[in-house]
């Protein structure tokens, strides 16, 4: 882990932080509410101490991850059917393409109208955001190489066995990409829903600290959101490598 650390890159990052601190302290940058990194650290400490941060983080994670997990179940199932049953594809792809072209943010006010200022709004938005990359990647992944499917026939595998032992594993690497994309959009849209809809979680924390003129704490919330995204992606990738070792190794991703 430490061996793979990009020391030069880390040094540049630290230098950037130092420069930021310097420019703010010396008054070169004169925004009224731009805190230096040290103030952000203090803000982070305050948020941690008051317990606001853990509550908000827990709320946002719960909403984003449950919406994403639901999208994973439905997206993979529906994507498999779409990818394997030609008539279903023919009948539904036009509608799906049209829906997909709609920017997901436009769906947020709709969800607020439907579900009110509630956590359901957040979950439904997170679900909708993650559904598309998962669904479409699954559809793509189902285009299994003809020779592999023929191998299944030669070895007398049933249709169910071919799906389970050949088609789904062959699609795994592609589906995992969809799941990772889906999780990051889920998080983004959950935050948006918290800013304009349900007043809770990290999104609301960010907005309310801004309105309360607490730039240190506000930037600390931004920092936490960034770290959350990175950690979530790493967790999904790590789990996928653990569970689907062979598939990801074969795709050159492990």
């Amino acid at each position: 882990m430490v061996k793979n650390l990009n020391w030069v890159g880390a040094a540049v990052f630290a230098l950037g932080l130092g420069l930021w601190e310097l420019l703010v302290r010396t008054g070169v940058l004169t925004f009224s509410y731009l805190p230096p990194p040290s103030d952000v650290a203090v803000g982070l400490g305050q948020l941690l101490g008051s317990g606001e941060l853990s509550g908000a983080l827990g709320h946002t994670l719960l909403a984003a991850v449950s919406g994403w997990a639901l999208a994973g179940l439905i997206g993979v199932a529906a994507g498999s059917v779409l990818g394997l049953v030609r008539p279903v594809w023919t009948y539904s792809m036009a509608s799906l393409e049209a829906l997909r072209a709609l920017p997901i943010v436009a769906f947020v006010p709709v969800a607020v109208l439907l579900f009110g200022f509630s956590v359901q709004t957040e979950i439904s938005v997170a679900f909708y955001a993650a559904l598309w990359p998962i669904l479409l990647n699954t559809v793509n992944g189902m285009g299994t190489e003809a020779r592999l499917v023929e191998t299944g026939r030669v070895l007398r595998l049933s249709r169910a066995a071919t799906l389970w032992k050949i088609r789904l594993p062959a699609a795994t690497a592609t589906i995992v990409v969809g799941l990772r994309l889906g999780l990051s959009t889920s998080l983004v849209l959950t935050l948006v829903a918290e800013m304009v809809g349900n007043p809770a979680g990290l999104g609301f924390l960010l907005v309310s600290k801004g309105q309360a003129l607490q730039p240190g704490q506000m930037f600390a919330a931004v920092f936490v959101i960034g770290v959350t995204g990175i950690v979530l992606n790493a967790v999904v990738l790590g789990l996928a490598r653990l569970v689907f070792r062979g598939q990801l190794a074969a795709a050159g991703e492990a």
Partner: protein, 257 residues
């Protein structure tokens, strides 16, 4: 064992249907090693796919043990030329070999996998992923997977076509041993005349467009055969000559017609 009578196959092509095989009459007896030779595009792969139940016949009758073929028949396993695309890259060698026999109880399944890997000389490589192995080894994995099914008939579509000469010779000899050990019937498609004569009990040459069987030849060379000794025999050379002639080869590329 396997036979076709008046087999006709027409496939859709870019400019209308293409007539590939015309009234092919062909049969293979139990335990026989029969090669199907032909130039590229002569329809030999199509013939094999029909026998393997992967491609329906347009006309005529194809049967395995008297029953008509519609879909891969029990006990008949096809081995493809492109091993890379026929092995599951996410499964280890062992789990690839087990793919067709996973309904069997564990002890029997593992026993068959061990036997099949031993027959192709890959007992030590079972836990590796196939893409870590050389081309020749990957093809041996595919053959082991077919053998684990305990097939009565092996249909092989240019199985050694993508391998270098030395690997090819080694695999030919291994296939001879396996066949002697198991008594499996083999239909072997190739465009390599030496390979066909060396391995077969009988060989047929597909000729014409649409193709028909132009030559059917018994190969009474004694077994076991040897890459050096057998290929120096006068009767081997005569058979080889005869097959080249049947394929339309004229002696000397510069000779006058």
């Amino acid at each position: 064992m396997i036979s076709c009578e008046d087999l006709t196959v027409t496939l859709p092509g870019a400019s209308g249907p293409v007539h590939i095989l015309d009234k092919v009459r062909f049969s293979v007896d139990k335990g026989e090693f029969v090669s199907v030779l032909g130039t590229s595009g002569s329809g030999k792969t199509t013939l094999l796919r029909v026998l393997g139940g992967l491609q329906p016949a347009t006309g005529g009758r194809v049967s395995c043990d008297g029953a008509g073929i519609s879909g891969p028949p029990d006990g008949v396993v096809t081995v493809f030329q492109d091993y890379t695309h026929s092995l599951l890259p996410w499964r280890t060698v062992r789990r690839n070999v087990a793919l067709g026999i996973e309904k069997l109880p564990k002890s029997e399944r593992e026993g068959r996998v061990d036997d099949a890997l031993a027959m192709v000389g890959l007992s030590e490589r079972g836990d590796e992923y196939p893409w870590r192995l050389s081309g020749g080894m990957q093809q041996r994995v595919q053959i082991a997977r077919a053998l684990a099914m305990r097939p009565r008939v092996l249909l092989m579509d240019e199985p050694f076509g993508a391998l270098d000469a030395m690997t090819k010779a080694a695999l030919q000899d291994q296939l001879q041993q396996v066949q002697e050990l198991t008594g499996t019937t083999v239909v072997f498609v190739t465009h390599d005349v030496e390979e066909a004569v060396y391995l077969s009990d009988r060989l047929v040459v597909l000729r014409g467009s649409p193709a028909n069987i132009g030559l059917s030849l018994d190969v009474p060379l004694p077994r076991p055969r040897d890459q050096v000794v057998t290929k120096e025999r006068a009767d081997y050379l005569e058979l080889r000559h005869e097959v080249y002639e049947a394929l339309g080869h004229r002696v000397g590329p510069w000779s006058k017609t």
